[in-house]
C-alpha cells in the first residue's frame, strides 16, 4: 500500500512542476519588464565568493557616481576593511587600523555637535563613522531630484527582485523611450524596471513596451571613473562592479556563511551515515 503514497507523491510532484512552469511562462507575459541578464558574478552559487578587486572598483563607482545622490546609512568606513571587504588586509585584523580605510574615512567631513559649545561643527571622519548621507533630510533629497527620494543602497540588491543581476542590468540598460511612449522630462525609460506603462502608451495595446520609468537619469558612462587597476571602464563593467559592491554591502557575511554551510552539511551527512548504521543495527529483525 505504501506504493500508493509513492505514486501519489510522484503525481503531485509532476503537477507542481506543471504549475511552476505555467506560472513562470505567465510571469514573463504579464508582468511587463525585461528579465535581468545573467552577469555570471563570482559570488553566485554555494562556493562563490567576492572578487576583491571588483569590490574595490565597485566602491570607487559608488563613491564617485552613486554617492552624489544615494546614501548607504548602514555602512561604516570600518566595514570596508573587515574580512571579505574591498580593502581587507590580513595584516590588519582590526579594520580600524587599516591605513586605506583610515585614509578614506579622513577624506570626509562629518557633522557633529561641539561638546563644549553645542555649535554645529564638522570634523574629519574616522573609521567608526557611517557613510555620510548626501542630503540633510528627505525634503532636501526630493527638492534636488524632481520629487523622488533616491533610495538608500545599503541593502538594495536584497530589496530588488533579481538582486545584483537586476541592479547591473538596470544600470547599463537605459534606452531612449520607444516611439509612442509618453515620458515626462524628469523621467527616464528603462526596460528592466518593474512598472506599468499601459496608460502612457499610445500604440497597439497588445504591444505595451516592457519596463518602466525612473527619476534617475542614466548614471553611468564609459570612462566615468578611472579604475586604479587599469580595467577598462565600460558602462557594463562599471555596472557590474558597483552591483558586486552593493551585493557585498547588503550581505557582508555571505562568504563566511557559505563556508560555514559547507562544513555544517558535511557534518550532518556524516551524522546521517552514523545514525543510519545505528538504525540498521537497532532495527535488525524487527521489520
Amino acid at each position: 500500500m505504501s506504493s500508493f503514497m509513492t505514486k501519489t507523491l510522484k503525481l503531485m510532484a509532476g503537477l507542481a512542476v506543471v504549475f511552476t512552469l505555467a506560472n513562470s511562462v505567465h510571469a514573463v507575459a504579464s508582468e511587463g519588464f525585461k528579465e535581468p541578464e545573467d552577469h555570471h558574478f563570482t559570488f553566485e552559487g554555494p562556493f562563490g565568493s567576492f572578487d576583491q578587486a571588483q569590490l574595490q572598483r565597485g566602491y570607487k563607482v559608488y563613491r564617485e557616481v552613486c554617492a552624489a545622490c544615494h546614501g548607504m546609512h548602514l555602512m561604516s568606513f570600518r566595514n570596508l576593511g573587515q574580512k571579505g571587504g574591498p580593502f581587507y588586509d590580513p595584516k590588519y585584523k582590526n579594520p580600524n587600523e587599516n591605513p586605506i580605510v583610515k585614509q578614506i574615512a579622513s577624506e570626509y567631513d562629518i557633522a557633529e555637535i561641539d561638546p563644549d559649545t553645542g555649535d554645529e561643527i564638522t570634523r574629519k571622519g574616522t573609521t567608526s563613522d557611517r557613510f555620510p548621507s548626501p542630503f540633510k533630510n528627505d525634503e532636501a533629497a526630493k527638492a534636488s531630484n524632481s520629487g523622488a527620494i533616491p533610495p538608500d543602497l545599503s541593502v538594495i540588491t536584497k530589496a530588488r527582485e533579481g538582486g545584483a543581476n537586476y541592479v547591473a542590468s538596470m544600470l547599463a540598460g537605459f534606452q531612449p523611450a520607444p516611439e509612442g511612449l509618453t515620458v515626462a522630462d524628469t523621467q527616464h525609460y528603462n526596460p528592466y524596471v518593474h512598472g506599468a506603462l499601459a496608460t502612457s502608451w499610445k500604440g497597439d495595446p497588445h504591444k505595451v513596451p516592457l519596463g518602466g520609468v525612473l527619476a534617475m537619469p542614466p548614471p553611468l558612462a564609459a570612462d566615468k571613473v578611472t579604475y586604479d587597476d587599469g580595467t577598462k571602464a565600460t558602462v557594463k563593467q562599471e555596472a557590474q562592479d558597483v552591483a558586486a559592491f552593493l551585493e557585498w554591502a547588503g550581505d557582508p557575511h555571505a562568504t563566511e556563511r557559505k563556508q560555514m554551510g559547507v562544513s555544517v552539511i558535511l557534518f550532518l551527512l556524516l551524522m546521517a551515515g552514523i545514525t543510519y548504521g545505528a538504525y540498521r543495527q537497532v532495527w535488525r529483525g524487527k521489520h
Partner: protein, 436 residues
C-alpha cells in the same frame, strides 16, 4: 499508554530520594524510554519529533534575537540589519529563525496531512487532534506577528491587510480594529504589542505541546493500519527504536534546513521586505509568506457581494471557516475505518484535497485578475479563460465540500478493504510480501 505500568527502578540513592518526592525521572523514563510505540510506524511519523526540534530552535534563536532587536517603528528595520551585520553570528541567528519558521510550517503540514490520511483524529484521539489544531492556530498567529517585526514593506502591509480583516465584522468590527492596532492605523503601538505577543505565544505553544504529548501518551500512537495496539507483540519501546528513527529523520530535515539557511537564506522571503516600511507607498503586490497562501487565496476567492453581505466579510468568514473545519474534523468523518490504506474511495478524495491545498497556495501568490490560461479574447481585448479568482473559488468550493460533504458521505457509503486483525499481523504480511 496510561494503563502501561511503570518499569522505572531507581538505582542510586539520589534517584530513590528524588523519586519519592518528585518522580520526574520516572515520568521521563516512562514517556521517552519505555513508552510502547507501534512497531509499524513509517517515516511520516517522525515529524512529531521534528516539530519539537523546530519549536526549540525557534525559541532559542528568538530569545537571542530579542536581546538585540528594538521594537520601535523608527528603529526596528535598522536593528534587524545591525543583527545581520554587527552582532556576532547575528546573521546565523536571524536566518535560522526566519527560515526556521518556514521549516516549522513545512513539518506541521506534513504532520497534519499524515494525521488526515491515517485517521489519527478519530476516536479516541479527538482531544489530541484538537490540541494539535490549537497549536497550529497559535503558530499562524505567532508567525504572522513575527513577520511584522522587521518592519519592512511586506511586514507593514501584511499587518495592515490582516488586521483590517477584523474591520469587516459588522457593527463592532471597526472598534475592535482600533483596539487591536492600538490606534487608527498600523503604527508603533501595533509593532510593540506584536513584539510582546510574539515573545509570549511560543511559550503558550510549548504549554499546549505538553498537553498534546500528554494526550498522545494517554491514548497511544495511531499507526499506518489504524488498528489499535492489541498486545505487546504490536509494540517496541520508544528507546532505542523510535529515538534512532526520529533522530535519523531529524538529521535529514536539518540538511534541508541548513541548505536554505546557508545557501539560499532569502529564497522564501520577499524582496520588498528589505525596504523599510513606508505607510505612504503601497507595494504593487502584497503577499503573505508561503505557508499562509492557501488561506489568503480562500480569503480573496469570493469577489461579489451577496445581498447585504459584503464580499470582504464573506471572504473573512470563509477563511476562518476553513480553519474551523480542521477543528471539527473528528465529528465530520463517519467512517469506521481509520486508515485510508483501507479506504479505496476516500484516498482519491484525499489526494485531490492535497492538490487543492497546493493549488490554493499557488493562487494565493498570484494576482486574482491574472489568467491561469486563456482561450481567446472578448471584443474589448480582455482575455477569456480561467482566471486565478475563478480557480480559487473552485478550489475553495472543493476544500469545503471535502469536509462538509465528502467526509460524512463517503464514510457511510464506502466499502472499506479488509483491515488486518492486528499490527503484528500486518507487519508479518508486509514482510512475507517483500520476501515472496
Amino acid at each position: 499508554m496510561s494503563d502501561h505500568s511503570s518499569t522505572y527502578e531507581p538505582k542510586t540513592g539520589i534517584e530513590k530520594w528524588l523519586d519519592a518526592r518528585l518522580p520526574i525521572v520516572r515520568l521521563a523514563h516512562d514517556s521517552f524510554v519505555d513508552y510502547p510505540t507501534p512497531k509499524n510506524l513509517n517515516y511520516w511519523w517522525t515529524f512529531g519529533g521534528i516539530l519539537s526540534l523546530c519549536l526549540g530552535v525557534q525559541i532559542l534563536t528568538g530569545v537571542i534575537l530579542a536581546m538585540h532587536y528594538t521594537a520601535n517603528a523608527d528603529l526596528a528595520f535598522d536593528s534587524v540589519e545591525r543583527i545581520m551585520r554587527d552582532v556576532n553570528y547575528g546573521w546565523l541567528m536571524r536566518y535560522v529563525h526566519a527560515n526556521g519558521a518556514s521549516m516549522f510550517f513545512f513539518a506541521v503540514y506534513i504532520h497534519m496531512f499524515r494525521g488526515l490520511y491515517y485517521g489519527s483524529y478519530k476516536a479516541p484521539r479527538e482531544v489530541l487532534w484538537l490540541l494539535g489544531c490549537i497549536i497550529y492556530f497559535l503558530m499562524i498567529a505567532t508567525a504572522f506577528m513575527g513577520y511584522v517585526l522587521p518592519w519592512g514593506q511586506m511586514s507593514y502591509y501584511g499587518a495592515v491587510v490582516i488586521t483590517n480583516l477584523i474591520g469587516a465584522i459588522p457593527v463592532v468590527g471597526p472598534s475592535i480594529l482600533t483596539w487591536l492596532q492600538g490606534g487608527f492605523a498600523v503604527d508603533n503601538p501595533t509593532l510593540n504589542r506584536f513584539f510582546s505577543l510574539h515573545y509570549l505565544l511560543p511559550f503558550v505553544i510549548a504549554g499546549v505541546v505538553i498537553l498534546h504529548i500528554w494526550a498522545l501518551h494517554v491514548v497511544g500512537q495511531n499507526n499506518p493500519t489504524g488498528v489499535e495496539i492489541k498486545s505487546k507483540e504490536d509494540t517496541l519501546p520508544f528507546t532505542p527504536y523510535a529515538t534512532v528513527k526520529d533522530g535519523l529523520a531529524m538529521i535529514f530535515f536539518l540538511i534541508v534546513f541548513a541548505a536554505f539557511v546557508f545557501f539560499a537564506p532569502d529564497a522564501m522571503g520577499h524582496a520588498d521586505n528589505y525596504i523599510k516600511a513606508n505607510p505612504l507607498q503601497t507595494p504593487a503586490h502584497i503577499v503573505p509568506e508561503w505557508y499562509m497562501l492557501p488561506f489568503y487565496a480562500i480569503l480573496r476567492a469570493w469577489t461579489f457581494d451577496l445581498g447585504p453581505i459584503p464580499a470582504k466579510l464573506i471572504g473573512v468568514i470563509l477563511m476562518f471557516g476553513a480553519i474551523a473545519l480542521i477543528f471539527a474534523l473528528p465529528w465530520l468523518d463517519t467512517s469506521k475505518v481509520k486508515s485510508m490504506r483501507y479506504r479505496p474511495v476516500m484516498r482519491w478524495f484525499f489526494v485531490l484535497f492535497v492538490i487543492t491545498c497546493l493549488g490554493l497556495g499557488w493562487c494565493g501568490g498570484q494576482l486574482p485578475t491574472q489568467m491561469v490560461f486563456s482561450i481567446g479574447e472578448d471584443s474589448h481585448g480582455n482575455p477569456i479563460g480561467l482566471s486565478v479568482a475563478i480557480l480559487s473559488l473552485m478550489m475553495t468550493a472543493y476544500y469545503f465540500a471535502f469536509f462538509l460533504l465528502i467526509m460524512p458521505w463517503v464514510g457511510l457509503k464506502e466499502d472499506p478493504l479488509p483491515v488486518p486483525a492486528s499490527i503484528s499481523e500486518a507487519v508479518l504480511a508486509e514482510h512475507n510480501k517483500k520476501k515472496g
